[in-house]
């Protein structure tokens, strides 16, 4: 069923792109103004001997091409450098944070897919009605909302005035939980506002894409043929329309992942959610370049992986790609 050749070709592309991203990343952070050692030492008064030792330790006495090879070698071994502010290996810090971000993005994605695609389908089949128009306008408004601002407004409305949900962190501070269930419930409560914020902002574009592709598909000749055969509208929609509309929606995965990564940075910043996004914001404030470098690499790798998975999924769904 799977074309091995197709998968191998895609895997090759993934490898080349990852390599290009790593190189891009290396060059970007080497054009930085200032001496990396001074940044690492942070205004501390170091003796010339200490500076020299650090220089040797980080391989900065070598020419740039050699440094590049060191860098690639370190990447392959999962060594991402040492954070300037936390004074710990970046890889350790990242591994503590990733799960929190994945949890947040997964929760938001479920809502976005269900409500976004659902309302897109409703809007497409009720095309031209008042319902369709109000759904489209709502989506355009949601699309115009800056994620961070939406979060701040929800904090004021639901957090400060109504006191309905906690507005910061992942656990209630200073509480010891008697069992796992209580602990999970507490995390769930803290998850509500960040998830709603992310979902609201990213839902709009998803709904519009679903609507326009489905409208496009439903005006195809084969839909007319299906109607001429006397099939019910339901059958036409779910057997002939929706599967074909699904294909263009799958190809927007990369766009969605980019959107949701950007959203995570903003939402985690506002709600002090201890994930990758908040880590990046703190790293920006303190100019902690090793962390910035590593998080960028990780986000880019996520995008590349998401693209690869959407290609695979496309292949499974579309027989033309599968068999050709």
């Amino acid at each position: 069923m799977f074309r091995l050749e197709f998968i191998l070709k895609k895997l090759g592309q993934v490898a080349v792109t990852l390599f290009a991203v790593a190189t891009f990343n290396f060059l970007l952070f080497r054009v930085l103004p200032g001496d990396p050692i001074r940044l690492l030492a942070r205004a501390g008064r170091l003796t010339p001997e200490a500076i020299e030792r650090l220089r040797l330790l980080f391989g900065l006495d070598k020419p740039l091409p050699i440094q590049y090879l060191y860098y690639l070698n370190n990447l392959l071994r999962g060594e991402l450098g040492i954070s300037m502010t936390y004074r710990r290996p970046v890889a350790d810090i990242l591994s503590e944070r990733i799960a929190n971000t994945v949890l947040l993005l997964a929760a938001a994605t479920v809502i976005v897919v269900i409500i976004g695609v659902g309302s897109g389908v409703i809007s497409a089949i009720r095309r031209g009605t008042r319902l369709d128009r109000s759904l489209v306008i709502t989506s355009l408004v949601f699309w115009s909302l800056p994620t961070f601002w939406t979060g701040l407004i929800l904090i004021i409305l639901l957090g400060v005035y109504l006191k309905a949900f906690p507005i910061s962190g992942i656990f209630t501070p200073g509480v010891t939980f008697s069992n796992t269930l209580d602990r999970l419930l507490d995390v769930g409560k803290h998850l509500i506002l960040p998830t709603i914020t992310l979902a609201i902002v990213d839902m709009g574009q998803f709904m519009l894409i679903t609507r326009s592709t489905l409208v496009d598909v439903m005006t195809e000749d084969y839909i007319l043929t299906a109607r001429a055969k006397g099939l019910s509208f339901r059958k036409i929609l779910w057997w002939h329309g929706f599967p074909n509309a699904l294909l263009p929606i799958i190809t927007t995965t990369a766009l969605y992942v980019s959107l949701v990564i950007g959203g995570a940075i903003q939402v985690e910043t506002i709600f002090s959610w201890p994930g990758m996004g908040r880590l990046m914001y703190d790293a920006v404030l303190r100019r902690d370049y090793p962390i910035l470098e590593a998080s960028f690499l990780l986000f880019a790798a996520t995008m590349i992986l998401a693209n690869f998975l959407s290609d695979l999924f496309y292949m499974i769904v579309d027989p033309r790609v599968r068999e050709a």
Partner: protein, 295 residues
């Protein structure tokens, strides 16, 4: 066969039709009116209600005041008038958005034209580069570029402009690819037109309506990108945009203190401008893609 007869209607006429269609559509008209209103306010507002960033509070009571008769939209954490600051900020936000868009559209159009017109190695290489930039996550990319190259008005414009062109390049390229195979282009080529003339006089005008629709949406994206970047503390600290205002509000803990008057005005400004551009751009898209229109 009349070779001088242009197969496409003159561009000027087509564009006038585009404007008419836009005005006839209720959403398009709403978008245009909204944008005109905002541009008018942003142009005249700061002249009538001058904002002096150095005029800070002398007493503690003047800080973070809720709206009152003297300060219609309250005061910020330094006791400055939020209403006047919002008017002044509109200019920076709009200017950054528009200038970044100009860079993005020029780069995107040039890359797209070249990638579509030259089918060989160079065209492919350009497309590979475009795809590479498309696979980079946008906000993290903008953040690290701004963090590396510094916080200033022009760097913000450059960073946003030089990262948001790939989607334009893709749209232009696919349109050029289909135009290149059309008969009238082949005829003109047979008459001995140079590449420059062919692209500049015969292909570009036919891509312009699509570029125009795309530009409107790119402006919306650029304004949102600037606001986000500035909110994260990477904006120009002197030329204060709406995003920078919201950054100061966030750092001052306006949300936790319930100071809605400090958060709502700049945010509503961003939403209205972006909504105006998105409504206009969405309508243009629908006009240029008749399948979506015919109901």
């Amino acid at each position: 066969m009349n070779l001088n007869n242009k197969p496409e209607p003159p561009t000027e006429k087509r564009e006038r039709r585009l404007w008419e269609h836009l005005w006839d559509d209720s959403m398009g008209r709403a978008g245009l009116l909204l944008l005109s209103l905002i541009f008018l306010i942003s142009l005249c507002g700061p002249l009538i209600f001058k904002f002096d960033p150095k005029q800070v509070a002398k007493t503690a009571q003047e800080i973070l005041q809720p709206p009152n008769l003297q300060h219609w939209l309250g005061t910020d954490e330094l006791g400055r008038d939020v209403f006047r600051a919002t008017l002044a900020g509109s200019r920076i936000s709009l200017l950054v958005g528009l200038l970044a868009t100009i860079i993005s559209i020029i780069v995107g159009t040039l890359v797209g034209l070249a990638a579509g017109y030259y089918s060989g190695f160079s065209g492919n290489l350009l497309m590979r580069i475009t795809d590479f930039f498309l696979v980079l996550p946008l906000l993290p990319l903008i953040i690290i570029l701004a963090a590396i190259f510094g916080q200033s008005f022009f760097i913000t414009i450059l960073v946003i402009g030089l990262t948001s062109w790939p989607s334009t390049a893709r749209i232009v390229r696919s349109q050029v690819l289909s135009l290149r195979e059309r008969q009238f282009i082949e005829r003109i080529r047979a008459l001995g037109a140079t590449d420059w003339r062919l692209v500049g006089v015969h292909i570009l005008p036919n891509v312009l309506p699509l570029i125009f629709a795309n530009t409107v949406l790119v402006i919306a994206g650029s304004i949102l990108a600037e606001a986000t970047l500035a909110f994260l503390g990477l904006g120009d600290p002197v030329r204060v945009s709406w995003g920078t205002m919201l950054h100061f509000a966030f750092v001052a803990g306006a949300a936790g203190r319930g100071a809605w008057w400090y958060l709502v005005p700049p945010g509503v400004g961003i939403v209205l401008v972006v909504l105006g551009f998105i409504m206009t751009g969405h309508t243009l898209d629908t006009i240029l893609n008749p399948r979506l229109r015919d109901y």
